[in-house]
């Protein structure tokens, strides 16, 4: 689904619109736990909150600066470790720091580490930069096993977030209280990072992303721009990481692992790196997948991997770009003609998904189920997988599903392309009329 000319969908709100959006966001944050009252919902909302901060901080590098980092977990993780140690110091009384200020400790830690490690990292750009962040990430992860005093060894470092009840009797023991602390920081950090995009440094960062060479010829030191952005990203990453510590009250070496970094990358990209709100969607998806999807099927990461591959190939702007493209189509009134194609696409996609998940689930159960009686339950249907004809049947189903999907996809693209052409004609017509 590629548009032939990529119109960046700049929502240019009049001031009223801006207040509405931000007010709505604040309202959403405040009201959400009242609407979704279960314990699980609260867990999800809390995690989504600080994950939004983390993914936005990551997108400061990726989407805004064109810097692909494979080591973001270093900054979130070290923020978490510094925060958990600060919490322990505060609990024991050596550091009189109320819990609401702990995230700032994490932020400053993230900033400091980014200042230190960012200097060699930002010496290069593009692909070498990506590899350097990978190497630095591995360095820090390997170091975490060498210094158990700081990283806590196998068991990690635990803390108790309920140590300070002086603040109006709020001890932050109950989940709701933690949520509102997270929500507050989420709002402030989101607003701050959005504001950053409107500043000279923020804009020059975009310029560096688009054309790093030209930036040098208009007087700016590209490396300095990247380094400063790296530090700002590290600051917010540290804040997010501190909340991991506050939320779970334990931090292990896994928090700085390459797997975490990969997760941030994957979901920020999935949400959409080219729009400011894309990472917010990504954060929501991240939490939903790791908490909910993992309950539905143990093979959820495989599906995730395939979705990611699919997105890179067909929708590199992520979910956000898909939303915006469709909003544009809707704005021009073309959605009506596309909805049947969408339905067909959805249907074929569902069939394909079912077919592929059939294979995945069977293999998964075969692998786990060494007591091999040869039968697997799939959506309530018993399948005898030791017989060949079942496998032939499965292969046929998959092949048919693939074929069907490809056919529907092409016809959808055709319809989409026609809609785009019509829209462009309309745009030209409107311009000429001006």
């Amino acid at each position: 689904m590629n548009t032939s000319t990529a119109h960046s969908f700049h929502f240019k709100p009049y001031n009223v619109g801006r207040w509405v959006i931000w007010g709505g966001f604040a309202l959403l944050l405040i009201v959400a736990p009242q609407v979704f009252r279960s314990g699980l919902s609260l867990t999800l909302l809390s995690q989504m909150g600080y994950m939004v901060i983390i993914c936005l901080s990551y997108n400061l590098l990726l989407g805004q600066g064109g810097m692909l980092s494979f080591g973001h977990a270093v900054y979130t993780g070290l923020g978490a470790f510094f925060a958990v140690h600060a919490m322990n110091l505060a609990s024991s009384g050596s550091l009189p720091l109320p819990l609401p200020l702990i995230p700032l400790v994490g932020g400053l830690a993230g900033l400091g580490v980014a200042a230190l490690l960012g200097y060699p990292s930002t010496k290069k750009a593009g692909t070498p930069f990506a590899m350097i962040t990978l190497g630095v990430g591995e360095l820090v992860f390997a170091m975490s096993l060498m210094f158990p005093e700081f990283f806590g060894g196998e068991g990690g470092v635990s803390a108790n977030r309920v140590y300070d009840t002086r603040l109006f009797g709020i001890g932050f023991g109950p989940a709701t209280q933690v949520y509102y602390l997270i929500a507050f920081y989420t709002f402030v950090c989101t607003a701050a990072m959005f504001a950053f995009t409107r500043t000279p440094l923020g804009r020059m960062l975009n310029a560096v992303r688009d054309n790093p060479e030209r930036v040098e010829f208009v007087g700016y030191d590209t490396q300095r721009v990247r380094y400063l952005a790296f530090m700002i990203s590290g600051f917010f990453a540290g804040i997010g990481g501190a909340f991991v510590a506050i939320n779970f009250e334990i931090v292990t070496a896994e928090t700085v692992s390459a797997i975490r970094s990969g997760g941030y990358l994957l979901f920020t990209f999935l949400g959409g790196a080219t729009f400011f709100f894309g990472p917010i969607i990504g954060a929501v998806l991240l939490v939903m997948s790791s908490v909910l999807l993992s309950e539905i099927t143990p093979a959820w990461q495989i599906y995730l991997g395939f979705v990611f591959l699919f997105m890179v190939m067909y929708a590199p702007g992520g979910v956000a770009s898909l939303i915006m493209m469709n909003l544009r189509v809707a704005a021009f009134g073309k959605l009506g003609r596309l909805w049947t194609s969408y339905l067909a696409l959805g249907g074929a996609g569902a069939v394909l998904l079912a077919a592929l998940s059939l294979v995945v689930e069977i293999v998964y159960h075969l692998q786990l189920d060494s007591s091999g009686d040869g039968s697997v339950k799939f959506f309530g249907v018993m399948l005898n997988v030791s017989s060949v004809d079942v496998w032939v049947g499965i292969a046929l189903v998959v092949a048919t599903a693939l074929g069907l999907f490809e056919f529907v996809r092409r016809s959808f693209l055709h319809e989409w392309g026609e809609a785009q052409t019509e829209i462009e004609k309309e745009i030209k017509r409107r311009e000429a009329a001006l």
Binding site: T5, A6, H7, S8, H10, A195, F196, R198, T199, P200, L201, G202, R203, M204, N206, A207, R209, D210, N211, E213, R214, V215, E216, F217, V218, G219, Y220, D221, T222, R224, V225, L228, I232
Partner: protein, 262 residues
């Protein structure tokens, strides 16, 4: 031309070698402040390389380059730009995903005293925004201010390219084949634009279009195989036997013929 003022751009014995190939072989050039110089020569003569050397894209193998009397060889591009030199590119080098307005604004932030500020809003920088609008009006792209740079037509992109170059108000402007790929009428309009926006500035331009060259330049430098064959007024260059032999003859005849038909 005030004497006693150092030349705006001066090259002394500049050589540039890539591996074993010597592209620039001992170029000496002195451009006075406010002068308009065109650099002509056959393809592969090293004209773009010369620009790259002056603007800092890479450094010379030997020799000196001076900007307003200050040696700038080996300096980084942004240092040279801050010292008062701006250049355009033969292939438009824009900020594709930013709007036309943003392109120009980015080009003049540093020149207008701003640095790596993240505590101020762009919308509040009144002088910057006003100057951006001025430049947009100068290059006649004010109606396209919100269009993305990558969606402009070719000629519009060339105009934006020049706009980015002059926005910061550098005293020395280098234009690398600004009218490349343009039609006759577009070229004429563009040359007029160049004349307007470079008033009072020192201009070096690489050009192939002889009509543009003879109409725009105070002096012409002829670069052939990395050496300056002649550096003189258009009439003197036209009459120069060496130049005619090496380069100009056929080209000039062509353009005269074209001129006669127009």
């Amino acid at each position: 031309m005030a004497s006693g003022q150092p030349p705006a751009v001066e090259l002394r014995g500049v050589c540039k070698r890539f591996g074993k190939t010597e592209i620039i072989r001992g170029v000496n050039l002195s451009v006075a402040a406010g002068e308009r110089v065109a650099i002509i020569g056959p393809n592969g003569a090293g004209k773009s390389t010369l620009f790259n050397l002056i603007s800092g894209r890479f450094g010379p193998s030997s020799g000196e380059i001076l900007l307003h009397g200050r040696p700038i060889q080996g300096m980084k591009p942004y240092e040279i730009n801050r010292a008062g030199l701006s250049r355009s590119f033969q292939v438009s080098n824009l900020f594709g995903r930013l709007s036309v307005f943003e392109n120009i604004r980015c080009a003049l932030l540093w020149a207008m005293g701003h640095r790596y500020e993240f505590w101020k809003f762009l919308a509040g920088l009144r002088e910057v925004n006003e100057r951006t609008d001025e430049v947009l009006a100068m290059i006649k792209l004010d109606r396209k201010r919100d269009h993305l740079a990558m969606n402009l037509t070719y000629a519009e992109q060339r105009a934006l390219e020049v706009g980015i170059t002059i926005a910061g108000g550098s005293s020395v402007i280098l234009l690398d084949e600004p009218t490349a790929g343009m039609s006759k009428s577009e070229t004429n309009r563009f040359v007029q634009l160049i004349r307007e926006v470079t008033v009072g500035k020192t201009l070096l331009t690489v050009e192939h279009d002889m009509g543009v060259v003879f109409g725009l330049a105070d002096r012409i430098a002829v670069l052939v195989y990395g050496e300056v064959l002649a550096f003189d007024t258009p009439e003197a260059v036209r009459a120069n036997a060496r130049v005619q032999e090496a380069y100009l003859g056929s080209v000039l005849a062509e353009s005269q013929a074209a001129g006669a038909q127009a």
